[in-house]
């Protein structure tokens, strides 16, 4: 057994009786930690708590033996609906078949243990909840044993627990039967967590608890909310970012059967109707005259030229050592390259939507969100309410990828504005066109690198200039994510690259560009561009030095055992160096992000300019793998998401407007393009990292490095598209 953990030191845990009978275990955090937003963390005990049944509950045990686990985070495909209950079940010795799961409400009790706001992002859920959820399970178990000890008149030490029962030598009592008595006991001040060698649940491949309802169509996503009186709205927005309504004529829109109202809101003009079809037809009939504003001449080609001219000179310094300029002038060999990556839309399968009902001194919101705190604050501000008067019901997210965690709370704010203006409960629904053209993209980036090699073929100096928009600028995260003008997410994976640590002279700098295009984190954030550039550059260096790309990386990554463990496992499983069928070539890449280390080997052929990815071999060191099967699923997912983007996806602008509109021209991965994927897990006891995003960064460079091996052509711009035709 491990040493008892004093829980009250970090979190306050409280046990109490359920109104309907049973036991409820509740947490609150007296002090939120870094990333605290103004007003984000008020102590519980507010009006919210008074009004709602246990708004800070993490776990309920009913007299019917059901164990309900409340999720402080949002399920968007990453399987925390299963992983977090596994943590509780492990310590509680629960009967897995009795577990039910619910999304928690928006409440200070559910603030991220590291970030201080209620958020699902940064591939952080499992590691950030690993202690808190296990403690909830262990504490509950202790209470149930205490109740059984009293009931049986035996010392607690003589009792054990198994599969939902407290067991003595001659009898066993179900948790449900003990729940009410346990609720009356004093909450223990400390709990003892299981020794990892005794784990029965953690580390075992476990099937998803949300599988059945997502297979039979009963799972409820934000889009599926319906109640009497709920109207559907679509908003006509400016065709150019930053534009505004000059005037509008709603007469034809109001003629459409089912259209009830047309109202102006800050983002445009909303058509409120009985159903989506009527709202869509109404919006098509609506005539709006727009003031297109300052961005009416946005043009991707002109922007690229602007980025290129900026890259000719160093920007603000992000990392620096030695004298790269002098060293480069004396280098044996000089490699210069420019890399370009486009704007990208997240385009989750479920188009954005948000349902809002406003009542006197209260507001209810139903939506799939990754960031309840900022959504709650934004809604409260619009309505002149306190945040705790805004109740957010989080439904299943039909994909997130970062789009549903917006510090600007765009889709929630707009829906609140529509409901406020219309004076009726409204579900605002985005069309796919609205989604593709609606902004909050992964920013476009241009990188210029100049690297000098010594006589041994290894780098002696490295200069890199990055040009792109800042994701954090203008958000509440700006204060701690932007230092001396440098947004850490713009240069993550570059400024802290393990490759640079081997080099005595480097200079990494950043030009932050302002364009008027709304940008946001997109699965793997800065690593989504930096890994492509760094792993391509290292490959360029290896080939220039006439060394094997794997051996070259191994040499540069000496002293980085977790990079090497992932790299070596991927190479071994892919049988690096072994001949492949004619026409097929391999490429390799390795990258650290969100605390995990992922290496991938791509097998690719190029036939008359058409790229085919046959197989991806992936190895990851994320520390402990709580649910190895969901970890594998996240690697498969990241490979699909990353491949689609690398091969085909881009958002471009002409005359201020986004040129793509739906899945016919914003191209994403489909079944016929999906390669075979193999995932291998490094057996690791190192610090836990994330799994939702780290599988993505190495995908593009593994593929383009394989393309180089196949064709001798270096892809320096994404998407790959028709560049080889």
């Amino acid at each position: 057994m491990t040493a008892p953990l004093n829980i009250s030191r970090r979190t306050f845990i409280k046990a109490s009786a359920l109104v309907v009978g049973g036991l409820v275990i509740a947490f609150s955090i007296p002090q939120a930690k870094r990333f605290l937003l103004p007003g984000a963390a008020k102590e519980t005990g507010s009006a919210d708590e008074a009004k709602l049944p246990a708004p800070n509950a993490f776990l309920r045990i009913g007299t019917d033996n059901t164990i309900t686990v409340m999720l402080a985070h949002s399920e968007m495909g990453q399987s925390i609906w299963t992983t977090l209950p596994m943590l509780i079940a492990e310590e509680l010795d629960a009967d897995w078949s009795k577990i039910k799961v619910e999304h928690a409400s928006a409440s200070p009790a559910y603030l991220h243990t590291a970030y201080g706001i209620q958020i699902t992002g940064g591939s952080s859920t499992t590691w950030s909840e690993f202690d808190r959820y296990r403690q909830a399970g262990a504490l509950t178990r202790q209470l149930l044993i205490g109740a059984a000890a009293e009931q049986l008149g035996v010392p607690a030490a003589n009792l054990k627990t198994e599969n939902g029962f407290v067991i003595s030598d001659d009898t066993k009592i179900s948790y449900g039967d003990l729940a009410e008595a346990a609720a009356k006991l004093e909450t223990p001040k400390a709990v003892t967590l299981k020794d990892p060698k005794d784990w029965k649940v953690i580390g075992k491949a476990t099937k998803r608890l949300d599988g059945p309802e997502k297979i039979n169509g009963t799972a409820v996503f934000g889009q599926d909310i319906h109640f009497d009186g709920l109207m559907t709205a679509m908003v006509a927005r400016s065709p150019v970012f930053g534009g505004s309504v000059k005037s509008f004529d709603a007469s034809a829109a109001k003629q459409v059967k089912g259209v009830q109202q047309v109202v102006q809101v800050p983002t445009g003009v909303a058509v409120v109707a009985d159903n989506y079809w009527a709202a869509k037809q109404g919006r098509e009939a609506l005539k709006v005259e727009w003031d297109l504003g300052p961005n009416a001449s946005l043009d991707s080609k002109a922007m690229l030229e602007d980025f290129r001219s900026k890259a000719a000179n160093p920007g603000l310094v992000a990392a620096q050592l030695g004298d790269s300029k002098t060293t480069l002038s004396k280098a044996e060999k000089l490699i210069e390259a420019e890399y370009v990556l486009p704007y990208l839309a997240h385009s989750p399968m479920e188009p954005l939507n948000c349902s809002v009902r406003i009542e006197k001194d209260a507001c209810e919101i139903w939506t799939g969100t990754q960031m309840q705190t900022t959504d709650q604050q934004a809604a409260a501000k619009i309505l002149g309410l306190k945040p705790e008067q805004v109740r957010i019901h989080t439904l299943f997210l039909g994909g997130g990828f970062g789009r549903r965690a917006n510090p600007a709370a765009d889709f929630v704010s707009e829906a609140v504005q529509v409901a406020k203006a219309a004076g009726v409960p409204v579900k605002t629904v985005w069309s796919r066109e609205d989604d593709v053209q609606g902004g909050y993209y992964r920013p476009m980036y241009l990188h210029k690198a100049k690297i000098g090699l010594g006589a041994d073929g290894f780098p002696t100096a490295w200069e890199q200039v990055t040009v792109g928009q800042s994701i954090m600028l203008g958000t509440p995260f700006e204060a701690f994510m932007i230092k001396d003008g440098v947004d850490a997410t713009s240069v993550e994976g570059i400024a802290d690259s393990p490759y640079l640590k081997k080099i005595p002279n480097y200079h990494v700098s950043l030009h932050t560009v302002k364009t008027g295009i709304p940008v946001l984190w997109w699965r793997s954030v800065g690593h989504s561009h930096s890994a492509f550039v760094m792993e391509s550059l290292v490959d360029e260096l290896a080939h220039s030095a006439k060394k094997d790309p794997l051996d070259y990386r191994r040499e540069l990554l000496k002293g980085h055992p977790r990079h090497l463990a992932a790299l070596n496992l991927a190479a071994e499983k892919a049988e690096w160096g072994k001949p492949l069928p004619k026409g097929v070539s391999r490429g390799i890449a390795v990258h650290e992000s969100f605390g995990s280390f992922v290496a991938q080997v791509a097998e690719v052929s190029v036939d008359q300019g058409a790229v085919k990815v046959h197989r991806m071999v992936c190895a990851i060191d994320c520390g402990l793998a709580v649910n190895p099967d969901s970890l594998k699923a996240q690697m498969e997912s990241s490979i699909s998401f990353g491949l689609g983007a690398a091969m085909q996806s881009e958002i471009t602008f002409k005359e201020g407007k986004v040129q793509q509109s739906n899945f016919h021209d914003y191209l994403v991965m489909r079944m016929s393009d999906m390669p075979k994927v193999e995932v291998h897990i490094v057996q690791s006891t190192e610090k836990m990292g994330g799994v939702g995003e780290p599988g993505l960064p190495p995908v593009a460079p593994a593929v383009t490095n394989a393309i180089f091996a196949a064709t001798g052509k270096r892809i320096r711009q994404l998407p790959i598209g028709n560049q080889l035709a």
């Binding site: 399920e75 949300d210 479920e350 188009p351 990828f401 498969e636």
Partner: protein
């Protein structure tokens, strides 16, 4: 008034006959298992069966369904093939966010109804109209093969 046969039951709908089947199902009948993804037959999230054929309900007006049978995810377990597909989906643990999976299951059921032993190429051809942004494609492929084996 339009009369439709949905999952074996007759329903009367007081909407214009150009309304796509998708919105009749979702907004009028409140059968929300069928999903909206793109509105132009590009993603397959809205796939249902019309007389057993997989169709994109987001572009098919209800007028086209009069006198025919609409089957949705809510009723597919009553079909022997549909049941095998759902069981295989569970066995392989296919789903992630789950939003596209109703459409995937309906498309896979239609495929296995006409082709008892699909090859990978057959699966590519039948399933490439169904987008999954979570990238469950390798598991969908495995589940279709597993269902085919079970049905054989």
């Amino acid at each position: 008034m339009i009369i439709l046969n949905i999952n074996g039951k007759e329903a009367q709908l007081d909407v214009s006959d150009d309304m796509p089947i998708l919105w009749a199902l979702r907004d009028v009948m409140h059968l929300t298992g069928t999903k909206f993804g793109c509105g132009m037959a590009q993603c397959g999230a809205c796939t249902v069966h019309l007389d057993g054929q997989a169709i994109r309900s987001c572009i098919t007006p209800i007028a086209a369904a009069v006198g025919k049978k609409i089957t949705t995810i809510e009723d597919v377990q009553n079909d022997k093939v549909g049941q095998a597909v759902q069981a295989a989906w569970s066995e392989v643990d296919v789903v992630q966010c789950g939003y596209c999976q109703s459409g995937q299951i309906m498309a896979a059921t239609a495929l296995l109804t006409t082709n008892q032993k699909p090859t990978d190429a057959d699966i590519d051809a039948a399933m490439s109209g169904n987008i999954c942004r979570c990238g469950t494609y390798p598991r969908i492929r495995a589940a279709i093969h597993a269902a085919a084996t079970k049905l054989a």
